[in-house]
């Protein structure tokens, strides 16, 4: 079978000793940074990105996959033990994870989190392998108009499906698009919005944007909370063993969650967040005794966690096959690939088959390494949470500065990261989510290019977007999502009054 053969060759690449080593290192450092309360996967990946510049492309991506998984898991540790959710999806896991921790069952909650994310991830990867060739085939009939419409769909979904108000989400999208315009024009090389600074001629590096908006901001807000140390519960390896009752309760939610996540993950924009909520409410409605939810129900962790990870995997399908990232983390990964000279898109599967399959296999390995490494090391991570915030956050600021400087040896990048850090703080104070901004920042230049190409081909006729059936279908989905979200937010507003 083709699929197995491809996966086998991918595993062969990912299992090379160096790749395996960097994957373990990536998981370790990813968990280390992700376990800092308030610091999410985007910040962790962006901080460790500069250190992968010296590696081969596949090796670098293997490491980043490890970092990503490690950071996600580290985030779950912090949110379950301290009830400080870093992301929307971990907020759902918190609902039942933290009550379990307060009942002295933090170990079980963490083990179920790890197993659920591994299972969800594995199912998502299988679908990723099976689905990618299909989407590549579809992508053959994609013209510039379809690409533009698909990106519009991703942006509309990302902007409107966040937890905040749709108007703010769309504003973040537009801000990202504006910032993406900075730099030389693709067609004429005319400098745009560089304000006379030669440094801005190549545009702003996506790593600088991510480290500022997420890294600096999250560290600042982490330090605002006064020190904590005593209320962290103890977690021993033995306390992680679930009871037979726990195991029985977790199996079906994991499978259902993986299914929901895999399907919704393909939808660019907000598949992961949406599927987490859907899985939680599904488990609650299926439960014989829904009142247990919110008080430490195992199902409330197992379902959402597996759906989140399955969605994270299938979200990679549009990223790899079309070059269109579905989540902010994927946007950063896409940026990393481009820095390494790989252009994701329909041609990647044929021209860079080794990287394509190696990358997919590495995601699975990152997932597996996480399970093997982090369960025995749980004591270390919990111990780290006991440290007052004072010890860790200041060092992270120095790490960010040095990491940014190491990209181009440019002091200007250090000043830019500060500007984006301050912007991130302002956005947080105004309760605007920065993730859509990052997606739009990466997609902006691609959108412009495809828009211009589509207009050139249709001789300036905007109707081309609705005359081409595939583009029309994508736009119809976009309008449906936007309309649906507007209705939801209006109803929420009315209910609040």
């Amino acid at each position: 079978m083709d699929l197995l053969h491809n996966f086998y060759s991918g595993i062969g690449i990912a299992f090379q000793p160096l790749n395996l080593f960097v994957c373990v290192a990536g998981v370790f450092f990813g968990t280390l940074i992700g376990a800092l309360p308030g610091i999410g996967a985007i910040a962790a990946v962006s901080m460790l990105l500069p250190s992968t510049f010296y590696l081969e492309p596949v090796t670098a991506l293997v490491m980043l996959a490890g970092v990503y998984y490690g950071a996600e898991y580290g985030g779950s540790i912090a949110s379950i033990l301290l009830n400080i959710p870093g992301t929307t999806s971990s907020a759902v896991v918190c609902l039942d994870g933290n009550p379990m921790a307060r009942q002295g069952r933090a170990g079980v909650a963490l083990l179920i989190t790890a197993v659920a994310s591994y299972t969800g991830g594995t199912i998502g990867i299988v679908l990723l392998m099976a689905g990618s060739p299909l989407l590549v085939a579809l992508a053959q009939s994609f013209g510039p108009a379809e690409y533009f419409s698909f990106m519009l769909l991703g942006l509309a979904a990302a902007g409107m499906m966040g937890s905040g108000s749709p108007a703010k989400g769309l504003a973040m999208i537009v801000l990202g698009l504006l910032l993406g315009c900075i730099g030389a024009d693709v067609n004429t090389a005319a400098p745009r919005f560089t304000f006379g600074l030669t440094h801005l001629y190549d545009g702003i590096n996506v790593i600088v944007v991510a480290m500022g908006l997420f890294g600096i901001t999250e560290v600042i807000f982490g330090m605002m909370a006064p020190g904590r140390s005593t209320e962290v519960p103890r977690v021993s390896l033995r306390s992680m063993v679930p009871t037979p009752e726990d195991r029985r309760r977790a199996v079906m939610p994991i499978l259902r969650g993986s299914t929901i996540g895999s399907i919704l993950g393909v939808l660019p924009g907000a598949g992961a967040t949406l599927s987490t909520f859907m899985s939680y409410s599904l488990e609650k409605s299926l439960a014989r005794d829904p009142s247990r939810f919110g008080k430490g129900a195992v199902e409330g962790i197992a379902g959402p966690e597996s759906s989140n990870n399955a969605a994270a995997q299938t979200a990679f399908i549009p990223t790899l096959t079309l070059g269109i990232p579905g989540t902010a983390t994927m946007a950063l990964m896409l940026g990393a690939m481009m820095i390494h000279g790989i252009q994701p898109g329909p041609a990647m599967m044929t021209q860079h088959a080794d990287i394509f399959w190696g990358l997919i296999a590495s995601f699975w390995i990152g997932n597996a390494v996480l399970l093997v490494l982090n369960i025995p090391l749980i004591g270390i991570w919990v111990q780290m949470l006991r440290l007052p915030s004072l010890y860790l956050y200041p060092t992270v600021i120095s790490l960010i500065c040095m990491g940014v400087y190491s990209i181009n040896f440019a002091v200007a990048d250090i000043l830019l990261v500060l500007l984006f850090g301050l912007l991130g703080c302002a956005l947080r104070l105004l309760k605007c989510e920065p993730a859509p901004l990052l997606i739009a920042f990466v997609l902006g230049p691609m959108m412009e290019e495809n828009f211009r190409r589509a207009m050139l081909m249709s001789r300036g006729d905007v109707a081309t977007f609705v005359e081409r059936p595939l583009s029309l279908a994508i736009l119809a989905v976009t309008v449906a999502i936007a309309g649906g979200m507007l209705l939801v937010s209006l109803r929420r507003r009315r209910a609040a009054q």
Binding site: D185, I216, I397, M402, S406, L430
Partner: protein, 151 residues
Amino acid sequence: MQIKDSGSALAGAGMIAFGAVFLWAGRDLSMGSLQRMGPGYFPALVAGLSLLLGAVLLAVSLRPGEGVMRIGRRGAVVIGAVAAAILVFGHGIGLFGMVPSAFAATYLVTLSQPEAGRRQRLALSAVSAGVIWGIFLAALGLQAPAFAWPF
């Protein structure tokens, strides 16, 4: 007409400011036609959207909403300390090298944490400088000096 959600109002004002700055900064870029767009076309379109969304947010702010987050004195001190640390690092790295810059930056950030004692701050900064040296010079072999002296 009264603003009830200051968060949306400020965000709206910000979007209008961003849109205006980009429209002004891109005033010399050629627009071209819809068929052959110049470098100025797409940015002008997005800047227009920014103005529009700013207006929408201002309209939204007339109804009660999420408001703004308050950070208090401690928050302001943390932001100030981090900003100062990044500026010091940026200016120091070319003059004194990586290790002293990391030491100074970490020390400045710790000043925002009242729980720390002076000795703790110095020790932490030294560890941090060591970590930076270990990662970027020892492990990654970056071509940048650990120490430098400009005079």
